[in-house]
């Protein structure tokens, strides 16, 4: 038996044969299992390849492309401030706390006693040490009382500052940026 050629099988599968050739192939296929199997395989190949899904691009593909095509306009100072509102607020709070601490000299009395000698020349330090010693003697228990309370207030102030910073960073990350981001998107 003469089997169908590869070309005939493909053309029969595609339906591109003329009427006479189509009829000839059909009558051959009715009696030839081998050629029938070939046509079935070709039909399956077409079916599977046409059902093949497209390959998706990775996420963010369009955004990356559009950033290259339409560059973002430069941000104005207002946008920059709004974008960093949380940071600006946090900085303002820290400055306020520090300002309050600096404006209250009693809070730094303990640091003055320990830190000042190391910042000035040795000769001055020695003289200063004598003055401080005599002053300390005269001030006696009253001064000690103040120093103790000042140390406690310092610790309290540092804790308060750190806690404020923590709250503000959380506020910045989880509330302000999201809220402002959503508002600007819409």
């Amino acid at each position: 038996m003469n089997h169908l050629t590869t070309k005939q099988i493909l053309q029969f599968t595609d339906g591109t044969l003329d009427y006479a050739a189509q009829a000839q192939c059909t009558s051959h296929l009715a009696v030839c299992a081998r050629c029938r199997k070939e046509v079935e395989l070709q039909k399956l190949v077409l079916k599977v390849s046409r059902q093949q899904p497209d390959v998706a691009t990775s996420s963010g593909f369009v955004q990356r492309l559009m950033a290259r095509i339409v560059p973002q306009p430069r941000k104005t100072w207002k946008t920059r401030v709004i974008d960093n509102l949380g940071n600006v607020f946090a900085m303002a709070m820290v400055l306020a706390v520090l300002g309050y601490a600096v404006s209250n000299p009693a809070l730094f009395r303990m640091q003055e006693q320990t830190a000042r000698p190391s910042l000035i020349p040795q000769a001055v330090t020695d003289t200063y040490a004598k003055v401080v010693e005599s002053f300390t003697q005269k001030a006696n228990d009253a001064t000690k009382q103040v120093v103790t309370s000042t140390g406690a207030e310092n610790t309290k102030m540092i804790s308060l500052t750190l806690f404020s910073l923590l709250i503000l960073v959380a506020l910045d990350q989880f509330v302000l940026k999201r809220y402002i981001g959503m508002k600007m998107k819409h």
């Binding site: 169908l4 070939e38 395989l41 390849s49 497209d54 691009t57 559009m66």
Partner: protein, 199 residues
């Protein structure tokens, strides 16, 4: 389909550059499929696609309204990928040239499909998909354009810039290669099954 593309293109040319994202969304996955078939590597395909979209954007004022955007854009993707293949060192996608009516097309198929094979198994579908991906050189993209993207011969001629005879020859060869590879795999599978049964 074309009308929607044309409407978007008019908006872009009218100054609404951001509308290009809509055009990208509509065509990126089909174009990615072609790029993957040609470059066979995801990162390279995405990079080539980005390049192609940028080129298309810049060339949009010169877009000829007589053809569809997809065919026009696919030609850009095809050229970008072909250039990339050339850079890889001697892989020239246009180097194969043959006639569709060669003597071999008139011969009956040589190897027979194993008679005990069921042609409706999911395993066979997987084999077919794998072998389509393995089609070498220019055969994969030509096959993809015709069967996966469902393009006509004329559209493929427009995309590739190759003569119709070459396209037909490539498609024919691709289908024969695919058939032989599938039958070979089926033969191996059948042989394996027989050995398992004997054991």
């Amino acid at each position: 389909m074309h009308e929607q593309d044309y409407a978007i293109i008019r908006r872009i040319l009218g100054g609404e550059k951001k509308a290009y994202a809509e055009l990208v969304e509509r065509h990126k996955d089909k174009a990615m499929t072609l790029a993957m078939k040609m470059l066979k590597n995801r990162e390279d395909a995405e990079e080539a696609l980005q390049d192609a979209f940028i080129r298309a954007f810049n060339a949009l004022p010169r877009f000829e309204w007589k053809s569809s955007f997809s065919t026009w854009f696919f030609r850009i993707v095809y050229n970008v990928c072909a250039t990339e293949l050339g850079k890889r060192g001697g892989q020239n996608i246009e180097s194969i040239d043959e006639e569709v009516d060669g003597e071999n097309t008139r011969e009956p198929v040589s190897t027979e499909i194993p008679p005990d094979i069921a042609l409706e198994s999911s395993e066979l579908n997987t084999i077919i998909l794998q072998e389509i991906d393995r089609l070498p050189g220019a055969y994969g993209p030509t096959f993809a354009l015709f069967f996966i993207q469902d393009m006509s011969y004329e559209q493929i001629v427009e995309v590739t810039g190759l003569p119709l005879g070459t396209i037909k020859a490539r498609l024919f060869r691709a289908r024969v290669m695919l058939r032989d590879a599938i039958v070979k795999r089926l033969g191996t599978t059948t042989e394996g099954n027989r050995q398992e049964k004997v054991a």
